[in-house]
Structures are given as structure tokens and as C-alpha cells.
Amino acid sequence: MEIVVASSVGVLTAGGVYLILRLRAFPVILGIAMLSYAVNVFLFSTGGLAVDAAPILGDHGEGGPYTDPLPQALVLTAIVISFGMTAVLVMIALGAYLDVGDDHINMGAALPEGETDGPEGRNSHSPNPLEDDAPVRFNP
């Protein structure tokens, strides 16, 4: 039981970190999602793993084994927050991609010197990047 949970947290975290370091919108979103799954499983296990036990005390604490209920409450909060945050991230990433025509997270190289943010600078690459025929690079 412990080894399954521990290794899944480890694998999810490693995958998440790797994907975030790709620095392109879609892998980064997947990476953040994987990282938040990892942390949810991790939070779930922080109260100690008890198999086949309810998260409530029996009569006066003597009703047999029970599992710590607090991490379950924490993990519910964390799931809701990370789910909402992922949705916000998808919306902003989509907005940035449609507006800029570039899905790099790292904006340093993408901006020519003297480029200003204004109506004349907007959409200078192509009106709609979805119609852009340029091949998508996967190995920047």
C-alpha cells in the first residue's frame, strides 16, 4: 500500500516537473495538473494510510480502527482549488495563444526590442494562429 502511494506521488511529481520545464502552454498545463494530482495523493496520505477504515471515530473512540479525517477535508479543498486554477490557466493560456500566436511561456525571446503593447502591435504575426500553416515545434 505505502509503496504504491509513494511511488505514484513520485512518478506524478517527476512527470509534472518535466512537463512544466518544457515551457510551452499545453505541456505546462498538463504538468501543473499532474503536479496537483501528486500533491492531492500526497495530502491524502499525510494522516497515515489505514485500509478499510472509516474517517470517523466509533463510540467514544473505541469503535475499532479509523482513518484521520482532516487530510480528507484538506484534500477536498485542494482538489477544488487546483481544479479551478487549472481552468483559469487554460483560459489565460488559450487567450494568450489566440492573441499572440505563440504558446511559449518564456516570453523573453518572443518579444522584439521596442515592441509595445497596444492596438497597433497586436496580432502582428497572423490574424488567427489556428489558420497558421507553420509547423508546431515540439523541441524548442
Binding site: I32, S36, T46, L57, G61, G114
Partner: protein, 555 residues
């Protein structure tokens, strides 16, 4: 005890107002503006009331749902949190007036709702006495800041916003890992209870506590923009709308505040698991942050990014003072914190006016002078000497008390060299930018419009007195901080004494409330009996705290 209910008012007021702004008033900007301004004004009034409440006595604890401390969520009002809430509300009102007067709030949707959510998150983070609740309030202020950051749109801003969101989502995940580790090791997330538990930690669990402490330090360092996780700040602040960047001035301070709370109350130097480890890392990070900030100010080619680097410089100075972890240095840090918030806000608000009227936007090169060149130059000059730390504004006093408080410290030489050298470099950077923007500009040829030519539609209009007032008020606040330095430091002195009185904080939070004014009905009477029975168990505990019961439940 009705007055303790006011402690949650800074969270409840924006929390009620924001959804109303978003759903009821979204089509009526006049209505939204008046409601939002009234809400921000009400928040200032509540904060002043809370300051009075805090000044009258020791820590006031508000238990949500009246659950006793380690089980329920507590809000703690002491001198420090009351001062921070007042700072937030005053800055919020100033920035909101600026946004309304310049029309920034009408350039995108839901500005006022997001603004109120932001104030709610910041006030909640200052008031909470629970580590997981701190995470929740961090998320509230962050999600509102994502919306505010990309307010008004534009391709560069959207890209910078995406970067900011990704950075902070990774930070939030790290925060959860830290909290999970802390809970696994101690079985609690209440700050006062954590302070008790980490001192009783078994040696085999010490490594877990150490890992959690350092992970938390990284999380708070991200918020406070301390090296090596300061790199998100210049891109974010320099591409955010200027009024929003002015409000963000208090967001970096949330990180500084959390570091003070956690590393004085929970992980003090007397904790065997962590010792002086956080101090050492914080000192190293703060030193490099200060240097980066100073040279960034000198090397920046845009006005907004120069101001952003000056924020990093001031956070570095603040963190140097905090990382000494002595009462004197903490007092100096708090005074400097108040000052640097207003200095940052003043610079961003002035920059907002300048940017709106220069043809070359915020590039730092000479171009024909704008309308009201003299007024902007004067405001920029005042804000810049405040930020760089020249008399007579509070920046000078702030740096003076920081330097003086650091004298007995073992790293005093390094801190002095970095702060003084950095200040010099910052002054040069600001002087260069100021002369480029306002002085050399007057030598540029102005293309005179032809006689009787109609005024072009997009010609920059002079700023109204109302639009200039918020920036001027920020500068006035620095002057007031300087003039009223005596009373302010006296108040902060009590705040620091409270902060370092760990036993007092623990006792105030963990002592069960008296049952005197509770309504008694059958169920509650039974509960009270049970509580009385539990108290019999705990009385034998040497501190008279409820730790005995908690351990029983935890196992």
C-alpha cells in the same frame, strides 16, 4: 464579546460585495464604482476600528463556528495584523480612487469585483491563525490577481500574465507539499498548535519538520520575491496595469509577513529540528536580492521595469532586516515595510500618468515633453527620493533604523555594504531616468500644431486634480510616516513585543473560551459537560493547554 466579531469583517465585507459587483452591477459602471469605493472606504473604517481594538488589549482570537482552537479555524488580531489590515485598506482605497479617476477600471470587465476579492484575500492572509487557511487566502488573492494582472488585455500583458499564473500555480503546489509534510510530522496546522508541536517533535521526525520549514520558506520567498525566486516579479509588475501594480505593492508584503509569523512563532532558533537554518538561507537570498534589485534599477530600459526592480531592491532590504530575527531589527523591518508599500505605490501611480501621455510609452529615452511635465516631474522626484531613501521622506528614516538595528548582528558589515551601496546605485538609476524623462525631454523639438487646427482625438489630456491626488496622497503618507515616526514606532514596538512573545500567542489561541455567554440548550449543555470532562484530563498537562486531548484524538 460582540466586538471580536468585527475581526472577520475585513474578510466578510469584500466577500459579500464582490459577487454583487460581478453579477448585479456589472452593466452599470457608475453603480459599481460607487459600491466599490464605499466598500473600500468601509474597509478603512473597519481597519481603524480593529486597530483600536488591538491597541486596547492583547491578542484577540476569533473562532469560526466557535470551535476550540486546534480543531476549528481561528483568526488572530494582534497589533501586527491590525496594522497590516489598515495598510492594505488604505492602499486599496488610494489605488481604487486612482483607477476610477483615470478610467482604468473601465478598460476591461469585472475590475471592481476582482479588486474586492483581492482585498479579501490579503486581509484574510494577514488575520488568519491557521496554516491551511493561509493557503486558502493565498489562493483567493492569487486568483484575483490573475484577473487584475491581465485586466485591459494586450498581447504582451497576456503573455506576462500566463507566466505569472504558471509560476504561482507551481508555488501553490509547493505550499501544499509543505503543509502536507508539516501535518504528517506534527498532526496539526494551527499556527499556535504548530509552535507547541514542533518543539516536542521526536528526533526521528525532525528531518520532516526541517524539510517542511524550508519548503515553506521557498513558498513565502516566491511571494516576497527573494532570490532565487524573484525572477517573476519584473515581468509581472512591469506588464500589469500600473494601478494594479500599485496594489500588488502590498502583495509582496504578504510573503514578508508570513515569514515573520512562521519563523518567529513556529520555527524559532530554539527549535531543534530547524535551528538557524532558515535565517542563514534567508540572509543569503536577501543579500543577492538587494544587489539584483539595485543593478536592475540602473540597467532597466523601461520606466515600469525600473520601478519593478526598485521593488526587488526594497524587498531585499526588508528581508535583510527580517533575516536578523531580533526584536530591534524586526521593528525596523516593519517600519520599512510600511514605507516601501507607499513608496512603490506612489511610483507606479505616477508612472501610470506618465505612460498614458508619452508617445514612446515607457521606454527610457528622450521624447518631447508631455502635458503637465512639471507636475509629473515633481511627483516622480518626490516618489523616487522616497524609494531611494533620501530625507525628508520616510525612506531615509526607514533605512536609518534598519542599519542601526543591524549593528549588533554578525552579518552587519555585509548588510551595511549591500544596503548603502544598493541605495547609491538606486539613486543614480532614478536620477538618470528622471533627467531622461523630464529634463532632456524639454530640449526636444516640439512640433507645434498649426493655428486653428482641430485638436487630434487621441491627444493626451492633462490629468485632473482628482487623478493626481492618489499619487500625491501616497507621497503624503510617506511624509506622515516620517513626521509621526515616534507614535508609529511605539505602536510597532508593542507589535514586535507581541510577535516575540510566543507563549502569550499560544496561550491566547489555545486557551479554551469561557462558556459564560453561550446560549445553553440541551445539546450544548451536553457538549459543555463533555468539555468539562476533557478539561479534567488536560488540567494535568503542565501548560494547562489542551494538548493532551489533541494527542489522544490524533492517535
Amino acid at each position: 464579546m460582540i466586538e471580536t466579531h468585527w475581526i472577520i469583517a475585513p474578510v466578510v465585507l469584500p466577500a459579500i460585495l464582490a459577487p454583487l459587483l460581478a453579477w448585479v452591477m456589472r452593466h452599470d459602471i457608475v453603480l459599481a464604482r460607487s459600491a466599490s469605493l464605499a466598500g473600500a472606504g468601509g474597509l478603512v473604517a473597519i481597519a481603524v476600528g480593529l486597530l483600536n481594538l488591538a491597541a486596547g488589549s492583547g491578542e484577540q482570537v476569533y473562532r469560526l463556528g466557535d470551535w476550540p482552537a486546534p480543531f476549528g479555524i481561528t483568526l488572530v488580531l494582534d497589533h501586527l495584523s491590525a496594522a497590516m489590515v489598515l495598510l492594505t485598506s488604505v492602499l486599496g482605497l488610494i489605488v481604487l480612487i486612482h483607477a476610477v479617476a483615470t478610467g482604468w477600471d473601465n478598460r476591461g470587465r469585472h475590475f471592481h469585483a476582482l479588486f474586492q476579492f483581492q482585498l479579501m484575500g490579503i486581509c484574510g492572509a494577514f488575520l488568519t491563525g491557521d496554516a491551511f487557511n493561509l493557503f486558502v487566502f493565498f489562493e483567493i488573492l492569487l486568483i484575483a490577481s490573475y484577473g487584475l494582472m491581465i485586466h485591459g488585455g494586450g498581447r504582451v500583458r497576456l503573455q506576462a500574465g500566463l507566466q505569472y499564473v504558471v509560476m504561482n500555480l507551481a508555488g501553490s503546489t509547493l505550499f501544499l507539499f509543505a503543509l502536507g509534510t508539516l501535518y504528517a510530522a506534527t498532526g496539526t496546522l494551527n499556527i499556535a498548535d504548530l509552535a507547541v508541536k514542533v518543539r516536542e517533535i521526536a528526533p526521528e521526525d525532525a528531518a520532516l519538520v526541517r524539510v517542511a520549514a524550508m519548503l515553506l520558506l521557498i513558498v513565502f520567498a516566491i511571494k516576497a520575491a527573494v532570490f532565487p525566486v524573484q525572477f517573476w516579479l519584473p515581468t509581472t509588475y512591469s506588464n500589469a496595469p500600473a494601478p494594479v501594480a500599485a496594489l500588488f505593492a502590498v502583495m509582496t508584503k504578504v510573503g514578508a509577513y508570513a515569514i515573520l509569523r512562521f519563523y518567529i512563532i513556529v520555527f524559532g532558533p530554539d527549535v531543534a529540528a530547524t535551528g538557524t537554518l532558515p535565517e542563514k538561507w534567508l540572509f543569503a537570498g536577501a543579500t543577492i536580492t538587494t544587489v539584483i534589485g539595485a543593478f536592475g534599477v540602473l540597467g532597466a530600459r523601461r520606466l515600469m521595469s525600473m520601478i519593478s526592480f526598485s521593488v526587488i531592491f526594497s524587498m531585499g532590504t526588508l528581508m535583510l532586516a527580517i533575516s536578523a530575527f531580533t526584536p530591534d531589527a524586526t521593528l525596523a523591518a516593519l517600519y520599512y515595510l510600511l514605507h516601501s508599500t507607499f513608496a512603490t505605490a506612489a511610483l507606479f501611480l505616477v508612472a501610470c500618468h506618465i505612460l498614458a501621455r508619452r508617445p514612446s510609452a515607457d521606454l527610457l529615452h528622450a521624447s518631447p515633453p508631455t502635458v503637465q511635465n512639471g507636475i509629473f516631474a515633481a511627483l516622480f522626484f518626490a516618489a523616487a527620493i522616497g524609494m531611494a531613501g533620501m530625507p525628508p521622506l520616510s525612506g531615509f528614516l526607514g533605512k536609518l533604523v534598519v542599519l542601526k538595528a543591524l549593528i549588533p548582528w554578525e552579518h552587519a558589515e555585509i548588510a551595511w555594504v549591500v544596503i548603502l551601496g544598493g541605495s547609491l546605485v538606486t539613486i543614480v538609476g532614478f536620477a538618470r531616468a528622471g533627467s531622461m524623462l523630464f529634463w532632456k525631454s524639454t530640449a526636444e523639438p516640439v512640433t507645434e500644431p498649426e493655428e486653428d487646427a482641430p485638436e487630434p482625438e487621441d491627444a493626451p489630456r492633462p490629468a485632473t486634480a482628482l487623478a493626481l491626488a492618489p499619487a500625491a496622497v501616497c507621497i503624503l503618507m510617506m511624509a506622515l510616516l516620517s513626521a509621526l515616526a515616534g507614535p508609529v514606532t511605539r505602536y510597532l514596538g508593542v507589535a514586535v513585543a507581541q510577535l516575540y512573545d510566543r507563549e502569550g500567542y499560544i496561550a491566547a489561541v489555545l486557551t479554551p473560551p469561557e462558556d459564560g455567554d453561550r446560549p445553553v440548550d440541551a445539546g450544548i449543555a451536553l457538549e459543555a459537560e463533555e468539555a468539562a470532562a476533557q478539561e479534567d484530563v488536560t488540567v494535568e498537562d503542565e501548560d494547562g493547554l489542551t494538548t493532551g486531548v489533541i494527542e489522544e484524538v490524533g492517535q
